[in-house]
């Protein structure tokens, strides 16, 4: 594990549930941070130098969970050392760097993975299954909304003393989250053709606090909405098909669906059926959510555990991991196109 911050802790909690994985070492520039992480997760070794750790531990897989601007160099070191690499999103700041990393991964025969955790959440998978079964009909429109208050007291995005590295990057705050929105849109839309986007700052001046984007696919389009100053929080995906509308909430464990009126159907009855169906799904999800919290389930990050479980099982068996190189490249191509609309770039 390279990095010992909040996301590294999520990786460590997930790894504890992956039978093929043993967390062998942690590395952080700060000794006290590395030591505390090792103590919390019973990791046998801690280091403050990546090269030294790679040399001493010879890991099979390296998780890169550091600030985004450092991802490329650390991932390259890990690949060179013969390890598969799982990098937190965004994997690289631009496509050229990603291509270079991809070439390095191909040369060393190792996997280069990016964390697309929400793709592996149970709700997302249910929605994908609805699409695959044809229940949604043809997907015409996908709406992804990530609207969370990221500017409260103590937030790294309002911290003037040690500004979050994303604030200096194209896309500002949104650059940290746009990958999630991109892969969730592409999961239902397929590869994109074109992008239009508008950006705005937060009332406090933080760049990239608002993003509205239209993504054109071959058969439909996606609308992405990001807002860093919204409460109550919302992280939803809504998919509009020709037979059904379905919505999932990534902060709560539900998928709500509404069936489209069929030709000749009586509209009031369809509306009533939808209302009852959705209410029942919401109520059941609320109970399931509370039960899950009391039962110590990992909440919105449970997809990360699944991603790691499936990736480690595949790597251990010599199979291709669930996130293919082509998929990761498609997602990053959309991310790059979105960031290319950034006014300062």
């Amino acid at each position: 594990m390279v990095g010992a911050g909040a996301m590294a802790r999520e990786h460590a909690r997930g790894l504890a549930e992956v039978p093929q994985a043993t967390l062998a070492a942690v590395c952080d520039r700060s000794r006290v941070r590395a030591e505390a992480f090792a103590d919390e997760f019973a990791v046998p070794a801690w280091h403050t130098d990546v090269a030294e750790m790679l040399d001493a531990v010879r890991p099979d897989v390296v998780h890169v969970v550091t600030p985004a601007p450092t991802h490329r160099a650390i991932a390259a070191m890990a690949l060179e050392a013969g390890a598969h690499v799982l990098v937190e999103k965004p994997i690289c700041p631009d496509l050229d760097q990603l291509r270079a990393l991809r070439a390095l991964a191909d040369r060393t025969g190792k996997a280069l993975l990016e964390d697309h955790n929400y793709l592996f959440n149970a709700q997302t998978r249910r929605l994908v299954a609805l699409r695959d079964s044809g229940a949604l009909g043809e997907v015409r429109r996908v709406e992804v909304v990530f609207a969370v208050d990221l500017l409260g007291a103590g937030s790294p995005f309002v911290d003037r003393g040690a500004p979050h590295p994303a604030l200096a990057l194209p896309g500002g705050i949104a650059s940290e989250f746009v990958t999630h929105m991109a892969y969730l849109a592409l999961a239902f839309l397929g590869p994109h053709d074109a992008v239009q986007a508008a950006w705005d700052r937060a009332p406090g001046g933080q760049p990239g606090a608002v993003l509205s984007a239209l993504v054109q696919g071959r058969h439909g389009h996606a609308v992405l909405g990001f807002d860093a100053a919204c409460a109550p929080p919302q992280f939803t995906v809504r998919v509009l098909g020709t037979r059904m509308r379905a919505e999932l909430d990534l902060l709560e464990p539900y998928v709500a669906t509404a069936v489209a009126a069929e030709p000749g159907a009586r509209y009031p009855l369809v509306a009533m059926r939808n209302a009852l169906g959705q209410s029942t799904q919401h109520a059941a999800a609320a109970v399931r959510g509370l039960w899950g919290r009391l039962g110590g389930r990992r909440g919105p990050y449970h997809g990360l555990t699944e991603l790691m479980r499936e990736s480690y099982a595949a790597l251990d068996a010599g199979r291709d991991p669930p996130l293919t190189a082509r998929w990761i490249d498609d997602v990053n191509r959309l991310v790059a196109d979105l960031l290319a609309t950034w006014p300062s770039s």
Binding site: A6, V32, R33, A36, G154, R160, G161, R293
Partner: protein, 337 residues
Amino acid sequence: MRALVTGASGFLGRHVVAALRARGHAVRAMVRPGTSVEGLGWDEGVEVLRVDLRVEPALAACFDDVDVLVHLAAQVLGSDDAQFVSTAVATERLLEAMASTGTRKVVLAGSFAVYDWVRADGVLDEDTPLESSAVYERGGYAVAKLWQERVAERLARANDWALVVLRPGFIWGEGHTFIPGMGWRLGPVQVVLGLDRVLPLTHVENCADAFVLAAERDVGNAVLNVVDTQLPTAWDFTGEWLRRGGIRRARVTLPFAVMHALARVAEWVSRRLFGPRGKLPTMLMPRRLAMFKPLWFSNTRLRRALGWEPRLGLEAALDRSFAGAARPSTDDGRRGG
């Protein structure tokens, strides 16, 4: 004496700076960039240094001609990770920089949060065991303060410095009269846990005096708890807080034993239903609830080592703290203790 004071514009920091100046010491006051120091009443004997300990590359220069570091900087808001970085990692960076300078003494603001309250028995004092790996159930502040002490001890030992760790109880005073240890608000009711339970308080001016004495006196390495001599019960203090603050809220007490029994039942049910993964609401978590258990608190070691006596008794401290309180002090936010 010239003291470098970190966290100098904080609640305790501004009082420590004032107390150091009152005794004629020169002060280099470290505050975060962008912090306003207007209105703090600092005179020309206070040199203001605007530095962020998490990122400043040239921290060693801050120690020029400094005899003692009074390290108060810590973060109590934000994510667990943000608290850890601003508290433990910042301390590591500061003390690693100090190693290349001539400064050889550190007075560190510790916290009661580092003690293992579950194992505390009868009296909580400097001999009470510290938290171990169970600290991660306690939340970010306790983790950050425990590792801050550990990193200070490691670097003090490696560099042969004198390290005095002062661990205050709940620090209170004007504008900071809500004590998290009082209990909880449930709508129109203030629930006080335990009728006779004593609150480990130290008024900010008394506490600041202890830091000045620790900076001045040669006591070698020491760990000293800071609590005042006259300690109120949570019930009485809550009553004063409501009355003097003009807060209209009913005050009811819940015996600690009842809450403890409730927590035990909840824990048993959780284990039966969910096994070791089960999670309890915060107020029912045994390690969190333990901070409300009835204990006595001693300041004997502090008084013996430093000759400290609280300048303000309880009544005077109450008068001082609520003097400007025509406005209710409902700052029920989180603060360290």
